[in-house]
C-alpha cells in the first residue's frame, strides 16, 4: 500500500498493511522533506501527508462589508525593501477592522511569521472580535450576509500534486460552539454564557444555520474527507457545552457528509477525559490529533476501549521529544502497543513541537519504529 491508500483504508474502517503515520502539508515540513538529508527519503519510506489546512472548498463573499488588516512593525520600520521584507517575516502585531453597515468590530493578534501554512491566529484577550455583547449586532450582520459559493479547483490541484503521498481534506470552519470560542475567547465566552444566555444562544443558532451551508458544500466536494479544526478540549468545551452545543451539529453534519461517502474527521487535541463518554454519542468518524499523556489526559488504551467504533488519529505527544530520541522511540512503541491490533488507528504529528530541531529529529525516529513494529495486525 502507498501512504494514500493506507490512510484512506483506515478512514474507511478497512485494515491497512501497517499503521499510517502522517505530518501536515505545511511549509516547514516541506522544507524538511526537500532539504534536510535525514528527511529526504521519508515519503518513500511511507510517511504520509495530511493536507488539513490547505484548501477551502468554497469562496466567501460578504457584500457591503469590508475588512482592513494592518501589520505593525514598530521600530524595525525601514526605508530599505530588503529590511521591509525581513520585517514582514518577523514577529509583529496585526490589527484589523471589519466594517459593516450596522457597526465595526476590531481584532488584534500577534503574528509569528508570514508562512501561510501556519496555524489559525490566536488572539490576546483584547484581540477577539467579540469583546462584549455590544459586538453581537455587527457580527450577526456579517454572518447573515455572507454568501458561500462552491470552489473545488484547489482541491483537485492539490490532490494531483500530493499524489499517492497523502490525502487532502476539505478545510471548513470550526463547528459553531468552537467558532464562538474563537470569536470571543474563553473568558468572554464564559461570561456571556452565564450572564447573557439568550443572545449567546441566538448567535450560536445563527452560526449553526450558516455553517450547515458550508458543510454541505464541503460534503459535495472532491476532497478525501471533511476536517473540522475544532481544537476541542474538555476543559473549555465542557461536558455540558459539548452535549448542548457540539453534539447536535456534529451529528447533523455527519449525516450530510456520510451521504456523500466521506469520513468526518474532527481535530480534538486537548484534554478529553471529561468527554470520554460523550464522544461515542457523536457520529464523527475520526478523532484527529488525539493526544495521549503526558500531554493529554486520556490514555490511548482507555480511549480505544471506550470509542470502539471511532477511528483515532493520534498525535505524538510533542513534549516527549525534550527527553531525547530514546524516549520518543519508547513512547511510539507504547502507543503502538496500546493500539493493538491497530485497526481504526493512525498516528501523526499534528501539534507544534518545542522547536523545529526537536521535530526534525523525532519524525524519522517515529517512522522507523512504525515501519519496524507497526505492521498490521500489531501483536
Amino acid at each position: 500500500m502507498n501512504a494514500r491508500e493506507r490512510i484512506l483504508a483506515v478512514l474507511n474502517h478497512e485494515t491497512p498493511d501497517k499503521i499510517p503515520f502522517t505530518i501536515y502539508l505545511e511549509t516547514k515540513y516541506m522544507v524538511g522533506l526537500a532539504l534536510y538529508k535525514p528527511w529526504r527519503k521519508l515519503l518513500d519510506k511511507g510517511l504520509g501527508l495530511h493536507g488539513a489546512e490547505v484548501v477551502q472548498p468554497y469562496k466567501v463573499i460578504c457584500p457591503n462589508s469590508k475588512m482592513e488588516i494592518t501589520h505593525h512593525y514598530g521600530e524595525v520600520t525601514s526605508w530599505s525593501p530588503v529590511d521591509i521584507l525581513m520585517a514582514m517575516n518577523s514577529t509583529h502585531m496585526v490589527t484589523g477592522t471589519i466594517e459593516t453597515p450596522v457597526g465595526k468590530i476590531n481584532l488584534k493578534t500577534k503574528w509569528q511569521d508570514l508562512d501561510l501554512s501556519s496555524m489559525i491566529p490566536w488572539f490576546p484577550e483584547d484581540g477577539y472580535l467579540v469583546k462584549n455583547s455590544e459586538d453581537y449586532e455587527t457580527l450577526k450582520y456579517l454572518i447573515e450576509n455572507t454568501e458561500y459559493q462552491p470552489f473545488y479547483d484547489d482541491i483537485k490541484n492539490f490532490k494531483m500534486i500530493i499524489g499517492n503521498y497523502g490525502v487532502i481534506a476539505a478545510f471548513v470552519p470550526k463547528t459553531p460552539f468552537q467558532s464562538m470560542r474563537m470569536l470571543m475567547g474563553p473568558k468572554t465566552l464564559a461570561i456571556e454564557f452565564y450572564t447573557n444566555r439568550k443572545e449567546f444562544e441566538d448567535l450560536y443558532k445563527l452560526i449553526y444555520k450558516k455553517e450547515l451551508e458550508i458543510y454541505k458544500i464541503a460534503a459535495e466536494s472532491p476532497a478525501d474527507f471533511i476536517w473540522s479544526p475544532d481544537n476541542v478540549t474538555g476543559q473549555v468545551t465542557t461536558p455540558k457545552f459539548f452535549e448542548k452545543f457540539s453534539l447536535p451539529f456534529y451529528n447533523e453534519v455527519a449525516d450530510v457528509i456520510h451521504k456523500h461517502d466521506k469520513a468526518y474527521v474532527v481535530h480534538m487535541d486537548g484534554m478529553l477525559k471529561s468527554l470520554r463518554d460523550l464522544i461515542p454519542k457523536t457520529k464523527i468518524d475520526a478523532i484527529e490529533s488525539f493526544t495521549p499523556p503526558p500531554v493529554g489526559d486520556l490514555p490511548l488504551k482507555e480511549a480505544r476501549e471506550f470509542w470502539k467504533d471511532k477511528i483515532i488519529w493520534a498525535n505524538f505527544p510533542e513534549s516527549v521529544s525534550l527527553q531525547g530520541q530514546k524516549a520518543v522511540k519508547e513512547k511510539t512503541l507504547e502507543m503502538l502497543k496500546d493500539s493493538a491490533p491497530g485497526d481504526n488507528f493512525l498516528m501523526g504529528i499534528s501539534e507544534g513541537f518545542p522547536s523545529t530541531l526537536h521535530l526534525f529529529a523525532s519524525v524519522p525516529t517515529i517512522l522507523n519504529v512504525i515501519n519496524k513494529h507497526g505492521t498490521y495486525p500489531i501483536s
Binding site: V236, T238, G270, Q323
Partner: protein
C-alpha cells in the same frame, strides 16, 4: 443572624455563578454594616474555595472558574473603595507570575491569580509573552517567594528552560521556589530543568504554592 443569612446567600450566589444576585447580596451586606474585610474573607475567599472543590470534583471546568473569578473581581470593585487598608488581610506570600516568552494564552495564568489571591497571596502579574530577562528583573526588584510560569504551547517550554538557566546564573534559584504549569508541561520536563514543582491545572498549582508557604 440576619447578617449570616445575607453572607450565606452571597456565598451561594458566587458558587452558583449568579453575578446579579452576588452583587445584590454584596450591596445588601454593606448596607447592613458588615465590614468589607469580613465579606472578602468569609464570603469571597470561601466561595472560591468551594468553586475550586467543584472543579476538582469535575463538576466545574474552566468556564466556571473564569465566571467565579469575574464575579469576585466585580465584587472587589465594590468592596475595595470601602476597605480600611490598615485592617486589610495579611498576605501569606508573594508570587510573581507570567506566561513564558512566545505564549499569549493567559486564561490559565489568570485563573491561578484569582485563586492565589483568594488564598491570601500577593500576586505580581507580569502578563503574557514574558522574557527571561523580565522575570529576572522582577525577581530582583520584588523578592518573591515563588515564581510561577505558565505555558500552553510546547515551544514555550524551551523558553522556560532558559528562565531556569538564567535564574541559576544570577544566583537566584536557591532564593525562590519555581513552579511551572500548563498542558505541555510534564513531570520529566519539570525535573530536567530544575523546577521545584509542576501543575497540569490552575487549582493544583495553587495548592502546591500554598503547601510550600505553609511548610
Amino acid at each position: 443572624m440576619e447578617n449570616y443569612k445575607i453572607l450565606d446567600a452571597m456565598k451561594e450566589s458566587i458558587v452558583d455563578l449568579n453575578l446579579d444576585k452576588a452583587i445584590k447580596s454584596c450591596k445588601e451586606a454593606l448596607s447592613q454594616g458588615i465590614a468589607p474585610n469580613k465579606i472578602i474573607e468569609d464570603v469571597i475567599s470561601k466561595a472560591l474555595k468551594l468553586v475550586g472543590e467543584k472543579y476538582e470534583a469535575k463538576e466545574y471546568f474552566i468556564p466556571e472558574l473564569i465566571m467565579a473569578g469575574e464575579i469576585s473581581s466585580q465584587l472587589m470593585k465594590i468592596l475595595l473603595p470601602r476597605l480600611n487598608v490598615s485592617k486589610s488581610s495579611k498576605t501569606i506570600g508573594k508570587v510573581i507570575i507570567g506566561t513564558g516568552k512566545g505564549d499569549i494564552h493567559d486564561i490559565g495564568k489568570n485563573i491561578v491569580i484569582t485563586f492565589l489571591k483568594a488564598e491570601g497571596f500577593k500576586v505580581i502579574d507580569l502578563g503574557v509573552d514574558v522574557t527571561s530577562e523580565q522575570f529576572i528583573e522582577a525577581i530582583k526588584k520584588e523578592k518573591p517567594d515563588i515564581l510561577a510560569i505558565s505555558a500552553l504551547i510546547s515551544s514555550t517550554l524551551v523558553e522556560i528552560q532558559k528562565v531556569l538557566k538564567d535564574l541559576k546564573a544570577a544566583n537566584l534559584k536557591d532564593k525562590i521556589k519555581v513552579i511551572i504549569g500548563g498542558p505541555p508541561v510534564t513531570k520529566e520536563f519539570s525535573e530536567s530543568i530544575g523546577a521545584d514543582g509542576f501543575a497540569k491545572t490552575a487549582i493544583d498549582g495553587v495548592k502546591i504554592c500554598k503547601r510550600w508557604i505553609l511548610k
